[in-house]
């Protein structure tokens, strides 16, 4: 059914003259169309027609059949049998409906009425076939049309679409801002405290290595691993106080010059490597740790640990290469200095030697 055909059937729909199948088709065809105004106009016309065409009630009127005064206000009742309005007092005094021939003794509950008359807007008891006030026929209330529901849903959806991104963005950026502020105030403190502790642990290991060599336990060489230093370290109070499960400490004597050099490294998983190169604790690279047994850098648990390891090793090689270069430069300068000194000495000594020769 097209919407135009459905619009043509609108008067019949309002008058409830359609069979259920056709009514459903008409409602489906009109779903989403704004026909509220036309429906209201047709309903009003239908109500007027029904009121005009309805047979004039012979026995029922809006006057109390007991006292013949007008029935107004709240203090009124309807006979449950014939729906004739009465004054409450009159109904009680007559002990039932005063309409001739009506056996009604009970009162219809107007307060629980669920229907409003379309013609006179009066309250109608649920299930009553006609309005007790204007006598027009009461059409059962139909389910609510879909148009307003769709409109309401669209308004809600639009509101949510406007509200959701804005509020989520506010939450996102405020949380990030809180985190940044916290990290600025606490994160740096933690890093400093960690670095200070790494320095202390490193200093302890360096002292222990020196003490080990001084003892001459291995012919004046530095210790090959940390286990050899443990008897010395365990005697130090600071070592016992340090969080030993917090750090991974590795140390070893130099392979080429075990009596002159040693290496020591302090590591914390996920927080980088601290080492004692060039008399300072340096933060090598996060995600790299030191294998305590093999005494070498190994990747951490991060997803790009391999890359980090490669970069860290390249960094170490570069640093060692620089040190070698510096050593060569130092040796060259030393040699040059010695040559100059020797020449000067020779020059200084030449006259004295000549005088002595004379």
């Amino acid at each position: 059914m097209t919407p135009e055909e459905a619009l043509d059937l609108l008067p019949l729909l309002v008058a409830d003259e359609l069979d259920p199948a056709t009514r459903d088709e008409v409602q489906a065809a009109l779903a989403g169309r704004d026909v509220d105004r036309e429906l209201a106009a047709w309903e009003e016309l239908d109500g007027l027609l029904e009121r005009g065409l309805a047979p004039e009630p012979a026995a029922v009127s809006v006057r109390c059949p007991f006292c013949h005064d007008a029935v107004k206000g709240e203090d009124r009742v309807l006979c449950a049998a014939c729906l004739t309005p009465h004054h409450r007092a009159c109904y009680a005094e007559h002990d039932g409906c005063s309409l001739l021939g009506c056996p009604g003794k009970a009162v219809a509950r107007v307060s629980s009425a669920q229907v409003v008359c379309r013609s006179c807007r009066g309250d109608v008891p649920e299930g009553a076939p006609y309005c007790p006030w204007c006598r027009s026929r009461v059409v059962p209330r139909r389910p609510r049309r879909m148009g307003p529901i769709i409109k309401e849903a669209a308004v809600v959806a639009a509101s949510l679409l406007l509200l959701l991104p804005g509020a989520a963005a506010i939450g996102y950026f405020s949380e990030r801002e809180l985190e940044r502020a916290w990290w600025q105030s606490h994160g740096s403190k933690d890093a400093l405290a960690e670095e200070a502790e790494a320095r202390r642990v490193l200093a302890l290991v360096v002292d222990a290595q020196k003490a080990y060599r001084a003892e001459g336990a291995k012919g004046g060489e530095y210790a090959a691993d940390l286990d050899a230093l443990l008897p010395i370290l365990d005697g130090r109070g600071e070592w016992r106080k340090a969080k030993q499960d917090h750090w991974i400490v590795a140390t070893e004597a130099s392979l080429s010059r075990p009596d002159e050099r040693f290496f020591a490294t302090v590591t914390r998983h996920g927080h980088g490597v601290f080492e004692n190169q060039e008399e300072r604790v340096s933060h090598v690279e996060p995600g790299v740790s030191v294998d305590r047994v093999l005494c070498r850098l190994v990747p951490g648990r991060g997803p790009d640990a391999h890359e980090v390891l490669v970069r860290a090793l390249a960094d170490v090689r570069q640093r060692f290469a620089g040190e070698l270069d510096r050593s060569a430069e130092r040796a060259r300068r030393q040699e040059e200095l010695e040559n100059r000194l020797r020449l000067r000495m020779e020059r200084l000594d030449a006259p004295s030697l000549a005088r002595r020769d004379k």
């Binding site: 509200l163 509020a167 989520a168 939450g171 949380e175 985190e179 994160g187």
Partner: protein
């Protein structure tokens, strides 16, 4: 018949506020989920924060649904006890959203 009650503007504002609060909490959960390792420092201090960090998508989706529900609840054309229940539910949703939003800050401060 009781006429249909018009929804007051204040009720609509309250609905938008509660829904916005829940959506804001959802945004903060997403921020936590995509944050740097910083949150790992405090995640152990709170079970709620651990849940947020472990299942961020679930928590954020639940908050969005709760916010939408709150928006719908306070638009409900209901009377009496049902309206009171709807208001109580909206208040509970607002409380949950506030707790989820404030949990990381509380964990950091402790």
């Amino acid at each position: 018949m009781k006429p249909t009650e018009q929804q007051p503007a204040l009720s609509r504002l309250a609905a938008a506020f509660v829904a916005g609060l829940a959506f804001m909490a959802a945004g903060s959960v997403v921020a936590l989920a995509t944050s740097e390792a910083v949150v790992l420092h405090v995640v152990e201090r709170s079970r709620l924060l651990a849940l947020e960090a472990e299942h961020p998508a679930l928590v954020a989706t639940a908050l969005v649904l709760l916010g939408t529900g709150a928006f719908g609840l306070t638009r409900l054309r209901a009377v009496g006890r049902r309206r009171v229940a709807a208001r109580a539910a909206a208040s509970a949703i607002a409380l949950v959203a506030l707790v989820v939003f404030a949990a990381p800050a509380i964990a950091r401060a402790s």
